[in-house]
Symmetry: C2
Subunit: 466 residues, 2 copies
């Protein structure tokens, strides 16, 4: 047997004909595969074929597949499975996964499935369901290993061997006070197996405060903590410092991927969508995109008002209109650059909220320099066109060029400044700084940009063109 190197995007040939097999034979083939591969096949099958295949799988295998967040349509699958099967699967699945599934189920299926759960599953579910999404509570599972501080290393190891099958991870062991149940220390399995069997568990590992989080910790902070301390799992403690669950690194990876997608959507000016692109319905797609598009459109209408205000100037010098898109887009572009820089700087905590003025002091000269750069390019362009006779900007072409260059300095500076301050303002108001979107910044800069442009024109051109 040789390892197969990873090649994305390719379905191995032996997997392709599986859809035509009878359910039992299909189940047999699926059971022999790596779970992740079996899931890819199940996701591609018609829903009733997938359900039949899962019903024919050995219990343990079925649970293993249903437990993976990558399996799509799990709610539907459980809904249409024979009720006793669905119940026994749900009871055997990990609590965090069952919670995710119930969060997406709708009544009456939700009530019907809840009724058949075992007492323990019901209790765990009730506890986990009340945490808001995007918090540690919604990521956590209740299947962890915790032992009293008076146990020895060998007794702990024996306990791990007994309960291993039902725990999400055994690589971190939570040592609690035998009386108060307060978390005292986290011992890694790595340290455990290299320790003396008779040593008390509390003596194993470094004597340092355990890293722990609250169930309400934001999932971005959870990810940051995992990166900072190179964790595989982190205990979630309640107000009384009892361990109520753990978050494992695989859930953090999934949460980060979701976060990446949400941030990309937000920055692109879209509402969050959790479904894959092809599964988003037409109406839902219109709603998720249309909402922001309308808000931006209504705001951008201010540009029409601004231009109406300057209509007299515009009629006197139509040549000014020629450069409106160019000048305005430069402001939007520099703003979008500054926003993306600062969104990440705040997310990585390279910069704190209180440092906003330091950023403003950096963006000011940066904006001026970038605006001047574009201004010079624009002057060269106008001069070249004029002198080579490509276009005639009129007798005052030098004044026009100067107007546009000066407006560019003003607009690019304003774009950089407002683009960089927007994430700070959002964070200060309690929003996610990543909610700042490129289209929003562009709209903000467009309206102001027009005012700057025409004001500069009035200064430079009154007495000649205006």
């Amino acid at each position: 047997m040789t390892p197969n190197s990873f090649s994305p995007d390719v379905t191995p040939p032996e997997f392709r004909d599986i859809a035509d097999l009878p359910a039992a034979a299909m189940a047999h083939r699926l059971a022999g595969m790596r779970p992740a591969d079996a899931i890819e096949i199940l996701n591609d099958l018609d829903i009733d074929v997938a359900i039949a295949a899962i019903a024919h799988l050995p219990h343990e295998q079925a649970v293993r597949l249903l437990d993976q967040p990558e399996l799509r349509r799990t709610g539907e699958i459980l809904e249409y499975l024979p009720l006793h099967l669905a119940g026994s699967f749900l009871d055997a699945m990990s609590a965090d996964r069952v919670t995710d599934i119930f969060q997406e189920l709708e009544d009456p299926t939700r009530t019907r499935l809840f009724a058949i759960l075992g007492t323990e599953t019901k209790a765990a579910l009730k506890k986990l369901l009340h945490y808001p999404p995007d918090t540690a509570g919604s990521l956590m599972t209740t299947e962890f290993i915790s032992v009293p501080a008076i146990w020895t290393v060998s007794r702990t190891l024996k306990h791990i061997r007994e309960v291993e099958r039902t725990r999400e991870t055994v690589y971190a062991i939570y040592v609690v006070d035998p009386e108060t149940k307060v978390l005292q220390r986290v011992v890694t399995l790595r340290r455990l197996i290299t320790s003396e069997p008779d040593a008390p568990i509390i003596s194993v590992g470094r004597d340092e405060k355990p890293v722990a989080i609250s169930p309400l910790t934001d999932r971005e902070d959870v990810a940051r903590l995992f990166r900072k301390h190179d964790l595989l799992a982190v205990p979630v403690v309640g107000d009384d410092n009892h361990v109520i669950g753990i978050v494992t690194v695989d859930d953090v990876l999934d949460a980060m991927t979701q976060e990446m997608t949400e941030d990309a959507y937000k920055f692109g000016g879209l509402e969050a969508i959790t479904k894959p692109y092809m599964e988003i319905g037409f109406v839902e797609m219109l709603r998720k995109r249309g909402g922001w598009l309308c808000v931006l459109f209504l705001s951008e209408m201010l540009t029409a008002s601004a231009m109406q205000y300057f209509e007299v100037e515009l009629e006197k010098a139509v040549v000014l209109a020629l450069f409106i898109p160019l000048v305005m887009s430069s402001g939007g572009n520099s703003g979008s650059q500054a926003t993306s820089l600062l969104i990440r700087a705040l997310a990585l905590q390279d910069i704190k909220l209180r440092d906003w003025w330091k950023v403003a002091l950096r963006e000011l000269p940066t904006g001026v320099a970038l605006g001047a750069l574009l201004g010079i390019i624009c002057v060269i362009r106008i001069a070249t066109w004029q002198m080579l006779g490509f276009y005639d900007y009129g007798p005052h072409w030098m004044l026009i060029a100067a107007t546009i260059a000066a407006a560019l300095v003003g607009i690019v500076t304003f774009g950089s400044l407002s683009g960089s301050m927007l994430p700070f303002i959002l964070q200060r108001l309690g929003f996610d700084p990543a909610s700042a979107s490129a289209p929003f910044v562009a709209t903000l800069v467009d309206v102001t940009g027009l005012v700057i442009y025409f004001s500069v024109a009035l200064i430079f051109l009154s007495g000649t063109l205006l």
Copy 2:
């Protein structure tokens, strides 16, 4: 001892006065902290104070801190430490970290430090340094546990206990053919400790092909594989199926964070920057932003050319100019939405390259519907302003409203279509689809949008205004 819940953004009071201590006392305090906390303090200290503190730390602690990628200025620290200390630290650090540091060092420091390394470190470094960044090879480390297939469980456990200290992870054990050294199976520590001590190691765990990658696998694919199979580590195999290293989940988390930042920068229209915002010099900042800004500016100049072409129409109907920013920005906004949707869909492999036409078939009606929505809003606005006497669009105001509405349908459809196709085109050409930026899409749509706008105007208004 009670666990401290995670609260970002706050430095505990006891850490604040540490900068004023003499180096030895400071080292003593740092040694007692969690490594991640000690690193935060070191990052905030003046460089020579940080170097003195590290020189005073016990060897093992210093190595532990230097081993963390979160420690900044490590190259500088090693450069100014006494040479014998730097050498002994580097030899004890993990190979992947040493590689990262050497990648950033410049001559003559690089050559000077390389000369003092031990033979083993030198060999590992030479091997790791030749892999391109962003590949598995650049993330991997050579410190893993591999055992011959003929060993028993207890012999493997004994081996793990002996070498544990020098290995990046012991939670995955790589079982290789005793003759050919080819990777045969991956056994988790979890399975190992629950197996019979006398069982052969090759009988432990599921009989499935090990998941493995090549050193040239892209880091995004590596992250996808970790998510898919819920891995803690993955073996990197060469052409001969020998294990040459492993990538661990903590490095994947760091790589994903970097990827998030790079993608955000790219989408915002910036070149990749790896430094924290405040450490980017003024000139470097101008270079990273000015390059793209100039390219976009030069492209956007085509809007001036387009408008020069339509100057006659513009002079006849200055009212058309009023709506140029509004109409054009709507195209840019819908394009940026579509681009961010498709960048993520391709990154998550929800959609394959060959599905581009399915996407185009969805974006076409979506764009028409969104454009119509904005068109209706715009007609209402013009009608309201006209009837309430806020502004006089002239006797042909209904034709003008129709022109703008029709142009919006065309431009938003074009924006959605081109915005969604751009990531496909980039991927087809071998670029990262995430290189598509909001400003780039906006520029693309601006130029075409102007042509659409004036063409529609010519159709609707010739004979009346034009």
